[in-house]
Amino acid sequence: MKIIYTDALIVGGGLAGLRSAIAAREKGLDTIVLSMVPVKRSHSAAAQGGMQASLANTVMGEGDNEDVHFADTVKGSDWGCDQKVARMFVTTAPKAIRELAAWGVPWSRIGKGDHTVVINGKKETITEKDESYGLINARDFGGTKKWRTCYTSDATGHTMLYAVANEALRRDVEIHDKKEAISVIHDSGVCHGVIVRDLINGELSAYVARGTMIATGGYGRIYKQSTNAIICKGIGTAIALETGIVELGNMEAVQFHPTPIVPSGILLTEGCRGDGGVLRDKDGYRFMPDYEPEKKELASRDVVSRRMIEHIRKGKGVKSPYGDHLWLDISILGREHIEKNLRDVQDIAISFNGIDPADEGEKGWMPVLPMQHYSMGGIRVKPTGESTTMRGLFCAGEAACWDLHGFNRLGGNSVSEAVVSGMIVGEYFTQYCEETHLNTNTSVIEAHLQAQIDYLAEILERDGGLNIFDIKDEMRTIMQEKVGIFRNGDDLLDAVHQLEDLLKKTKEITVESKSMGNNPGLNEVYRVTKMLKLALCVAKGALQRTESRGAHYREDYPKRDDMHWLKRTITTWPDTADTLPTVHYEEIDILEMEMPPAFRGYGSKDSLIPNPLSAQREEEIEQIKKSLETVNRFTVQEALLDFALPGNLKHKNERVGVGYA
């Protein structure tokens, strides 16, 4: 039996995992990062648009600070987020981006004086301050008050990931790639590591550590159409669920992005619209201003996605062999702008669709349709990043429900979250690893390892004749059609039943190759089984939540219901023999909020069932503010909501023109 010991074990080598690994190495811990693929190929590399941090360098970001970023994030989450976490996040984000700059991320910088931008479909000239010259630039992104999204052309995630990965290499973080964690080793409520399958030779081994972190990203691939990389199957989340102890939070909160290209599902960045691109229907008509007169194309993602589907349902979609779609038009930005700032978008459109988006008029329009994009849900953790129910198991990045995003994530907040949580959670995780001593006997580890060996052997013995690929396709279609952008009780109930059926059917499959070695057919069986469990968590959570909040939209319950549903959905899988998850709820306390629930600003005001506690808290806040005799925003903030951050992270952030104010 192969057992590998280390101090800190991190499963997942995306931005969150690698940044956490750096935190651990800084304290001298032996650190191993496991990844299914070479770490620089992690899905973080795909983030195009940018990273949010309230630097306020550009004139269009003037006046921005932690408070504005906080408000945008809370509003964006439809008040579903943990405001304490949001505060931790917005305070650290500027530091994160400055650290990345020092590590060499070639952020786009502010030029001298005047330059032309496209705002709301029209060319406008903006003039930058002299003292901002050479500082990090920002662009406009959906759902934000200020231009706050920092970027490197449209390869933001790529440049970030490479900088962080190289820094990890520099600190001798041990990277083991082509390794897949398939089960969590735990004993009396404490996590000791994971069982790992070597994807080159199929070998199983145990990785044992003082502390374990899961940073395995999202689970978008349970949907048929997704912008996610094909490895985003949520295996990390699923193995936590399978412990029977770990809780998953808000699994039904799934974000759909308005503009993936049809049919491949490759994302065209929000930057397209941020820079001034517009949506058009089959008549070439720009329809978003009709629905959202104020924010238009730059309304929050969930809103734009729903409006698009709504418009298609009115018969305004463009017919194609792949179903109806709409057009994204960026040709109005001009060839020069596209070739400089949206080159990857152009590259995608040309390579995959044969369309050059810089071509004027209809010829350059790109076919787009909303598709699954981001998983707000994940392993439920405390603000320190530790699982609410299992000691020694931490989680960060998209895999976690830390809960920064609530029911809808703002564009640009997730690569930011990945790095920021790597700094914060990474630090708490490191502390845990330093303080904890490995306290387990090998028999526990061996038992876990043996269980997985037996499990795989058992899969190879199955002989029901079904094909796992068919089961997977069916699952993904069900999720797409019944647990998608618009949801309703009947479909969701159907979906839950069908998915449960599929889960049972996985016992009746046959794998052709019986090899325990490199066997991609076998991989698919245990992966699809895990994905089905996550799909069930999503569907069941969605079925039970009889309201509409953020990205979760129930046609039969179109209102946000703060009276009954201001709570987090918690799913667990107590018994391996279960075929359905167990769901319960965690209250979100309005009286502890810095920003009590209010109207989010989309649709009509009566689309909300308010909670009287909101008004009560609002009043309380007024009282507190009055009693303070100061308007200093830091003092006020502190009085409203207390939060802690490790190390220097709570320091104030300097900004051009205003210093530390």
């Binding site: 070479p38 620089k40 992690s42 090899s515």
Partner: protein, 244 residues
Amino acid sequence: MPENENYREIEITVFRYNPQDKTSKPEYQTYTLTETPGMTLYIALIQIWSKMDHDLSFDFVCRAGICGSCSMVVNGKPRLACKTRTSEFEDGKITLLPLPVFKHIKDLSVDTGNWMNEMSKNLESWIHTQEETDLSRIEKPVDPAVAEEVFELDRCIECGICLASCSTKVMREDFVGAVGLNRVARFQLDPHDQRTDEDFYELVGDENGVFGCMSLMGCEDHCPKNLPLQTKIAYMRRKMVKVK
């Protein structure tokens, strides 16, 4: 599946071999499938894998030409499979081989990750500076044009195609290749990095580095990111020759 009879059949021939398995012998296997509009090699291979042969190994991650996982040799040319449309091949015959020069894993899958990590480490591909960064302070300003120039080189996705297209690399295992030389040029240009040309010389001033390149230009002509490898290798060579 084809509702339209006009869709043609294509033949995809794949190199099959599992070096881990003592009984496996290198062989070529041909699959015939119906081409659908806009089909890429990603779509085709997934179809082969899920419908015809569950045991076929290959690597895709982003399927969008941004992660560098899916490099393989397509009718002789190293390229990103996910970005290759089958309609490009008029006779409908496509032969796929794993990337040469890397450790072969199975079928079309090779180990690029470890090679690239080693390369990054050997070339110390990170910022070297004596300056302490105070994360609360305003960041150091950088000329926008310089930032852009660095970004241009930072776009490398470590796909390994330049190495697979380089005969020098094929002959000399220890050659760092265009990917490495480009990486060094990237840090040489970065204003955050305080290393001098003497320091860079220690990294690439030999036959495994810039002086090993014979200007064969396979890298330049195949790089899927169109990085300016030709000019940047020349740039590094000029810099390195001038080092006293």
